[in-house]
């Protein structure tokens, strides 16, 4: 079956829609992640999502929700998203109120979340079918995106994009120079908390699709490529979104044609474009 024919299949359409939505969100968010030197945040929050998924899966199984027949409630995302949100706010609080650096604060939550995830998944009896494998969580399975997955991604995408575009001028100013922005009445601390919260939700819903391991790359590589080519933050923002969307569509197509895992193909496509951007920017 050709790629064009495959696009008529419902699962491919869902995969493409989910991929594009994630690309737009992570492209926009990535600009601030890269410029604020928070690249490790993506990895940290993705692993927080893993901890939340473990907790969510355990609660779903042990509370009998799995047998309730209410499809939406089967998904551990309902626990993972607020869990990631709490982890993100805790990281922001530690950054603000202690002398620990970002990477140290993130590293602590990273380790605790993975430990919790492994613990809770180990408590689930092996014969229980969650419809979600550990490998899917780690490496993603964009072609297996379900209707509820897509709905959750769409809702978070609308909220995240509206928030990031709405505060772009203030967030960019605070990213440039936090103190200078505060002298002009920008509530930089509040914006940082909101940025972390937004990142937590985006990463939690996206991790289901692109996987925990690859999510950090998704947040960093398009924005980093855009930084190499852009002369202004506005240019960087537009380029980051465009590069994220293009590499997602191309990567998805290549993964179908070569019959290889989609998440890694998308990230490798992004990496190839990063190399091109690095060469172009040097010349």
């Amino acid at each position: 079956m050709s790629l064009l024919d495959a696009m008529h299949l419902a699962f491919m359409q869902r995969a493409l829609a989910a991929g594009v939505l994630i690309a737009v969100m992570s492209g926009l968010l990535g600009v601030f992640v890269v410029q604020r030197r928070l690249s490790f945040l993506g990895a940290g929050l993705a692993h927080a999502a893993f901890g939340g998924m473990g907790l969510g899966a355990f609660i779903i199984v042990s509370s009998g929700l799995l047998a309730s027949g209410v499809g939406l409630l089967h998904h551990p995302l309902w626990i993972a998203a607020p869990f990631s949100l709490l982890a993100a706010l805790a990281i922001a609080w530690v950054r603000e109120h202690t002398r620990l650096s970002s990477d140290t604060a993130i590293g602590v939550f990273f380790a605790v979340s993975v430990a919790l995830g492994v613990l809770f998944f180990s408590l689930i009896p092996p014969d229980v079918n969650l419809g979600l494998s550990l490998m899917d969580l780690l490496f993603g399975s964009i072609l297996a995106v379900t209707g509820p997955d897509l709905a959750a991604i769409a809702v978070v995408a609308v909220v995240a994009v509206a928030f990031l575009l709405g505060v772009w001028g203030r967030l960019a100013y605070a990213t440039f120079d936090d103190e200078l922005a505060r002298t002009d009445g920008v509530r930089a601390r509040l914006l940082e908390y909101l940025l972390f919260a937004c990142a937590a939700l985006v990463i939690a819903v996206s991790s289901v699709v692109v996987g925990i391991i690859l999510m950090a790359a998704y947040l960093v590589i398009p924005a980093a490529s855009a930084r190499l080519l852009a002369r202004s933050l506005a240019q960087m923002t537009v380029l980051s979104v465009v590069l994220a969307v293009v590499t997602t569509v191309v990567g998805l197509g290549l993964s179908y044609l070569a019959d290889v895992p989609s998440g890694s193909t998308i990230v490798l496509t992004q990496a190839a474009l990063f190399l091109v951007a690095a060469v172009v920017s040097r010349s």
């Binding site: 410029q35 030197r37 772009w168 001028g169 203030r170 960019a172 100013y173 990213t175 440039f176 120079d177 936090d178 103190e179 200078l180 505060r182 002298t183 002009d184 009445g185 920008v186 930084r227 852009a230 002369r231 202004s232 933050l233 506005a234 240019q235 960087m236 923002t237």
Partner: protein, 237 residues
């Protein structure tokens, strides 16, 4: 400022600092390292809230009128990997937001501010590629772009060569003459304080002197604030 006391952790950075500045003055704040000069500026900007006492600008609490203040920070703490031109930086002085694009009206005002500080040619240059003096001009243009009633400068001559430093003081005096604005400048340069300011505040956590340069920049006053070094400073200018 009335009996302003600021503690950061265990340390008392400012203690019972009181002074009143009339509109249109050029105040130089001098004192040794760690005297609390930058903290005083942050109190005036509303960035630091005193534990005791209060600070008011234009008759209201400090920080209430950011658009009436032009601030030039001490250290250029921005991330040099941030993609930004001098024009965009100056536009933040007009908009108080980072510009996605600079409109026609804003561009004219920003160019006028850059022109005033002799930096029109820097408008399209990336900030990361500017020298210390050029960066200082861009920041000064940003501060003056909104035609503030109060200009606050925290050690503006840091990293600036001798000629650029004198240009800077001339610019500030010119702006003050044209607009009647108040200028408050933190400086280590006692000579600059003597020749350019009409009021001097000698600070070392407490106020050790406040008055005209002739009244305040005397050996005994400086010795109280600086210790023995004050004697050498006093002789130096």
């Amino acid at each position: 400022m009335h009996r302003v006391t600021v503690r950061l952790g265990e340390a008392t950075v400012l203690q019972d600092v009181s002074f009143e500045l009339a509109a249109g003055c050029f105040l130089a704040v001098v004192g040794p390292n760690g005297a609390g000069k930058s903290t005083l500026v942050k109190v005036a900007l509303g960035l630091v809230t005193p534990q005791r006492g209060h600070a008011a600008l234009f008759g209201v609490e400090a920080g209430a009128w950011p658009e009436r203040i032009g601030y030039v920070p001490q250290l250029k703490t921005f991330d040099r990997s941030f993609p930004a031109t001098a024009l965009e930086l100056v536009t933040t002085g007009l908009r108080r937001r980072w510009p996605a694009r600079v409109g026609v009206g804003e561009r004219e005002l920003a160019y006028a501010a850059l022109s005033r500080v002799g930096a029109e040619h820097l408008a399209k240059r990336q900030l990361a590629r500017l020298s210390g003096g050029e960066l200082q001009r861009a920041y000064l243009a940003r501060a003056l772009a909104r035609r503030p009633e109060l200009v606050l400068l925290d050690e503006p001559a840091t990293g600036v060569d001798f000629l650029a430093e004198h240009d800077l003081y001339d610019l500030l005096e010119g702006y003050q003459r044209d607009t009647g604005a108040t200028v408050v400048m933190v400086t280590h340069d006692l000579a600059a304080a003597r020749y350019h300011a009409d009021r001097v505040l000698v600070l070392n956590r407490q106020v050790h002197g406040f008055g005209t340069p002739d009244e305040v920049l005397c050996e005994s006053c400086l010795e109280r604030a600086f210790g023995h070094l004050g004697h050498h400073h006093a002789l130096a200018f």
